[in-house]
Symmetry: C2
Subunit: 136 residues, 2 copies
């Protein structure tokens, strides 16, 4: 239950941007689709119902958060995941994840039908997802 360390304002600003960027499902899906390959703006935009311009702005939000970079060659712009700021976010969240996970394990111990094997990183498929914990 170690207390998280205090961060600088700068780190806080990064976390603000990163978490805000991650709070939108379109942007998360963009990141998902960029996992492992580079894509053009137009390719990224294609599956979405919103306009290309809207996607372009989502991409800019991700760029500002440092989560992706764009490399423009000619008139096309390739997007790829970038590494740095997510480490801050992952670091921050994982401090809590430890505590939360521990609490979660306790919870699971009381609710045996939930699979408690996700204490570690099989979490790709983590499936305690019948949450009725949030509204709306």
């Amino acid at each position: 239950m170690s207390k998280p360390v205090k961060s600088t304002d700068r780190e806080q600003a990064v976390l603000n941007l990163v978490f805000a960027a991650l709070s939108d499902p379109v942007r998360r899906e963009i990141l998902t689709r960029l996992d492992g390959e580079e894509l053009l703006v137009s390719e990224l935009a294609q599956p979405f119902d919103i306009s290309l311009q809207a996607v372009s702005r989502h991409i800019q939000v991700l760029v500002r958060a440092g989560l992706i970079t764009q490399e423009r060659t000619g008139r096309i712009s390739r997007c790829r995941l970038d590494a740095e700021p997510i480490a801050s976010a992952a670091g921050w969240i994982n401090q809590y994840a430890k505590y939360w996970q521990q609490q979660f394990d306790t919870l699971v111990a009381f609710l045996p039908e939930l699979d408690n094997s996700n204490t570690e990183d099989d979490s790709h498929g983590h499936d305690h997802s019948e949450d009725e914990n949030q509204r709306d």
Copy 2:
């Protein structure tokens, strides 16, 4: 570099709320202060410059995201961390953290003094944060 799994709409909704909740520094600090102890709304509010009412609403945002719970006894309301939804967020982000961290390591291998340009305080300090960008 395994592709992340598709999530349900419900999971997406949880992630929306959780990441949005985490995007505010006041709320993150509330969580930080709740790591290991329960606190009253008024105790939580005390170090902040904003009104008690504003803090109360931040707390409600965290409750809606499932990150904390409030237990009211009499006129006081104790807040404590809650476990479940953060597991989703941690799971989600960690899928990427692996990829990102690997990329980051590669980057660092090429640029041993990566951050001497502008960053100072730790290994992933990153500097595009003179930030003008979000509301607060």
